[in-house]
Symmetry: C2
Subunit: 205 residues, 2 copies
DNA sequence: ACAGACTCTGACCGATCGGTCAGCTAGCCT
DNA sequence: AGGCTAGCTGACCGATCGGTCAGAGTCTGT
């Protein structure tokens, strides 16, 4: 018989509510946008109530902040590391590698603050990401800010964010495995970024 | 004397309310997103009442439709023209030129349906744009859909949409004039798209 | 057994959402 | 003058928004 009252188990058998909520919120923010996502949707998708979301996060904005901060921190670290070494073809290539690691690991976060930074201006984590991107652009193009170099950087950044989130879903029907994406991405991004200042790589397969 | 009663002029001296509303709505949709834009905001920004917006357009969705349709029509025409000629380096280069004309003329529309097609799925004009993009991708990469070629196309598309709308505002402080942007854009897009199938252009400045 | 902290939730709040409707105003035709 | 239409608006509707709050259930240490 064993009454088995009502499945006792801790509130949820899932590991941690706030981790789940962060992940669910990130998916929604990246695909539907921050403004287009309601706390109710996040709660429903994660299997909680709206009140629970607001128990774990002070507000919708605070949730966004916690969701994006790890990615922004990581991007900042990559930039600082690049700035700490003197510029060379080698350091630049290492930077591109770091950058691609970053893109692949934080695709949803990148897509979120890349494509919504204008509408979310004023939110601290978004502004942080914004100045980071400007610094990145200034660093890669240093002094001589030729229009083409800026456009190269912008296309690499926005293109990668788009391709790995929106593009994947209907350009490649099934999501290609990462081990296939990485080299392709590396090749294209290197081509876009490498010649920006150090035009010493005319070799092209 | 000519009394000139009270400036007779039609309700507004502006040329046409619906034209103004379309333009205002487009700016908002592109920068804040469709979900993030309220009819009230559009009305306020254009100097009308919310009721007026709904007088000229049956619904918010209908407004989006009218705003995006010209761009989608144009993109469709470009694709059809490209499909009508047999493939060659020349036809491909002409296509890239058409495509860049399109991007520059319809930057806001492109940015809107590129970066929101997932969240707005189901709206006819968005779905139309979606299948167009898939056809574009299939055409440019024809049969041999190597991952890298798909990524090249995705980066060119998403990157251009991002750079010309979001990127311009904080990457280049002041918006560079079109006559400076066009050649840079042509160079980068050609580099991304040209070698996709016709690898007969090893020349690179 | 008891107290306290931690999670979670439903009920509820004012504000705003997209959308409807009746009515106002001006110009135009007869 | 009178009727018609086009353009525009405020008042209003139910639904949903982000957010508050007072509990209820469960686990801990004592």
């Amino acid at each position: 018989m064993t009454p088995e009252p009502v499945l006792p188990q801790p509130p949820h058998n899932r590991q941690s509510a706030s981790v789940e909520l962060r992940a669910t919120a990130l998916e929604q923010f990246a695909s539907v946008g921050f403004a287009g996502t309601s706390l109710q949707q996040i709660a429903d998708a994660a299997g909680y109530s709206k009140s629970s979301v607001l128990y774990h996060f002070a507000s919708k904005e605070a949730l966004l902040d916690e969701v994006l901060t790890p990615a922004v921190d990581r991007l900042e670290a990559i930039l600082e590391r690049f700035l700490a070494t003197e510029e060379s073809a080698l350091s630049r290539s290492r930077f591109v590698n770091d950058f691609i690691d970053f893109i692949l690991e934080f695709r949803l976060e990148l897509h979120t603050f890349i494509n919504q930074s204008q509408s979310l201006r004023g939110i601290p984590v978004i502004d942080r990401a914004g100045v980071l991107i400007v610094r990145l652009s200034d660093t890669l193009c240093h002094g001589d800010a030729s229009t083409e170099d800026r456009i190269r950087f912008g296309i690499a950044l926005g293109g990668a964010a788009y391709t790995l989130v929106a593009g994947m879903t209907f350009l490649g029907e099934e999501i290609a495995p990462e081990e296939e994406i990485r080299p392709a991405l590396l090749s294209v991004i290197t081509e876009l970024l490498a010649p920006v200042t150090v035009r010493t790589t005319p070799s092209r397969k």
